[in-house]
Symmetry: C3
Amino acid sequence: MRHLLNPLDFSVEEIDDLLALARDIENNLPRYAHVCDGKKLATLFYEPSTRTRLSFEAAMMNLGGNVLGFASADSSSAAKGESVGDTIRMISCYADICAMRHPKEGSAFVAAQKAQIPVINAGDGGHQHPTQTLTDLMTIRSLKGRLDNLTIGLCGDLKFGRTVHSLISAMVRYPGVKFVLISPPELRIPDSIREDILEANHIPFEEVGNLDDALGSLDVLYMTRVQKERFFNEEDYIRLKDCYILTRRKMKLAKPDMYILHPLPRVNEIAVEVDEDPRAAYFKQAQYGVYVRMALIMTLLEVEKPC
Amino acid sequence: MRHLLNPLDFSVEEIDDLLALARDIENNLPRYAHVCDGKKLATLFYEPSTRTRLSFEAAMMNLGGNVLGFASADSSSAAKGESVGDTIRMISCYADICAMRHPKEGSAFVAAQKAQIPVINAGDGGHQHPTQTLTDLMTIRSLKGRLDNLTIGLCGDLKFGRTVHSLISAMVRYPGVKFVLISPPELRIPDSIREDILEANHIPFEEVGNLDDALGSLDVLYMTRVQKERFFNEEDYIRLKDCYILTRRKMKLAKPDMYILHPLPRVNEIAVEVDEDPRAAYFKQAQYGVYVRMALIMTLLEVEKPC
Amino acid sequence: MRHLLNPLDFSVEEIDDLLALARDIENNLPRYAHVCDGKKLATLFYEPSTRTRLSFEAAMMNLGGNVLGFASADSSSAAKGESVGDTIRMISCYADICAMRHPKEGSAFVAAQKAQIPVINAGDGGHQHPTQTLTDLMTIRSLKGRLDNLTIGLCGDLKFGRTVHSLISAMVRYPGVKFVLISPPELRIPDSIREDILEANHIPFEEVGNLDDALGSLDVLYMTRVQKERFFNEEDYIRLKDCYILTRRKMKLAKPDMYILHPLPRVNEIAVEVDEDPRAAYFKQAQYGVYVRMALIMTLLEVEKPC
């Protein structure tokens, strides 16, 4: 029995297979409508996340399966002091697979130790969120046709942005990938990523402070939110924030096939006017997220691809 | 692609068709058990409403479809500052149709601008609640056999009662309809309805302060709740409230085929003893609400009537 | 139409039939996958209980049915002042059967008076929780092969433990049953159970203060949580609590076929090390809970056993 706890749990080959399955699902959705008939997914969200939860639920329903679970810790046994290990033992009696989001780092790992069913980490604190990374990979591969030989810009809060760290860790496994890291000084990528992932793997990258200067060279731009509360003072925030807001004007500096990704939710870091740009891929990304989760559920449940 | 945002979005002919379909569903429920197989309804309730949410869910399940969503804003992305427009773009990737309740007027309209799927307004603040109006219309037509040539009493809080305003706006399109508006002075119908809807359409109506006096002339009595907090002072409330409580004694003054409707939930404005009266139609109304929502979902999804 | 409000609503013969059906379900699960196609279960949880709610939902889904409802009172019409009677009248329009948990004693009974569909009491305050009792009975019968001629130890909070009271009331109907009641003096079984159930039925029982002394004689040990807040003072709690914590060391005193049950959630009254003991049956119990609820739903809906 396998779990998905960390974006690197799957080898490059396994990710290739998963993305190929997701692509086949995208192209032949009705053929998958019953492959999980009679199966149940438990969505255990100790911390609310509408987007991720509904994406998993849509995925399971698209496969013909059922969904049960909880959307916040208030309505869970956690309030009565039950351990995650005990909860997952119980859930193993109720469902065939589960997706778990928990505010505490490592809790998906703890759950997997006790689970009798496959556990998907749907986010554990600031730690990991592997299905977001799989979604990002599928989006890049679908739109650019490849995962290698790409220059990827990552913009915004690179210090605390969990999705950014995971995406870098996943992409360094493909040849010819370069990164442009665009952030204010306060929110630069942490040393653990710069040294242990980028430098250790001899990956070319540059760190810049200005989005405008970087835009022209990128194949993919991955935007994230710059949160006011990350800044030491209001003046710094006001001075810096505009540099990290993507506008129609800025998009003129970008290549005609530079796609914009964003893990969502967005607040104001991409102007609404950009949504109409054909290079805006962040809503398409939400759609790919459903397909990749369908492929993941099938893979972990060892469900055969329909012929 | 069509939405249902306002009770008047459908013409009289379209409402006729919808109610005919709802009636056929009522009479042949099992034939509709699979017409929405593989379809998904998203219930987006930014404000809790058990009754409306479960009615939609029951409707979709009766058609063979699946349901996903959230029951309150706490467990939604709204807490992270996402706009309704962005949320609906995401939901369009997850579901085939959505029903949305939101405390802010006009939010269903905003959602519909961005949605790639049909949006049903399940209540936007004090503004509109069109599926309640469709339910009311189906109840009246089913029980009275017609929507024209009726004297309709509306009793209670006519000032703030959203369902009352919508029902009046919908009923003035049928010939021969008269209204008796029964309320304390503090809660009279607003000018916008009296002048722009009733007088502008030359609809006969009278405003009275006493339920007893009006009862004998009515074909339908639509009760609503009189909330204590609407009154200026406690004495007025105590003095007036009994006039607007329907009792078995009062029902003796009504015609033998005068049906009582209520949008529910009821607090004390209809005495429980009245529930046994065959003219009490408010629970039947809840049942009609499911059929009419089934018909609406089919209509907006352009699902064929089974043969 | 029947309801299940109290563990004693079913006769011994009816429980025999129900447990036989549950056992057949356990052994032939796929045969039951569609017996409730098109049926809907409403889960009305005015008080959160993940375990019980998800067990019901899994049960209904295993039978092919759908589930709708609410997980806490915040998202229910109760907040608008609706009575339980009115809510159940409405729910009767939406679902075929319902499971209701409510903090107030007797509320399931009130609901059943007004319901047009079978009501299952899923816990009403400290009062009754009959499906837990059915689960306990199925666990004992499955593991011990019988419900008669057993010595049953009940340990922990016997004063407030609803499940303990119900299990005693249910087990006294089988011949040859003896009880060993193990608790601190503060948490002894109430007189209502000691006198009206045990003594009135001439059931042999002893009350002891020490788990170690009792363990050797038991066929079944039913553990419950000893909550700190039940004690008059901290010193008493610290002095006493270790006597009521089951450890691997203590398990050496027990018979090789003495099964441990626990209604869960557990906090610390069973050491995690005991989970590996083959006599630990509390997670298996959660699995039996699903089968017995499947049997119950089928029985109340009068669904035929598949051939």
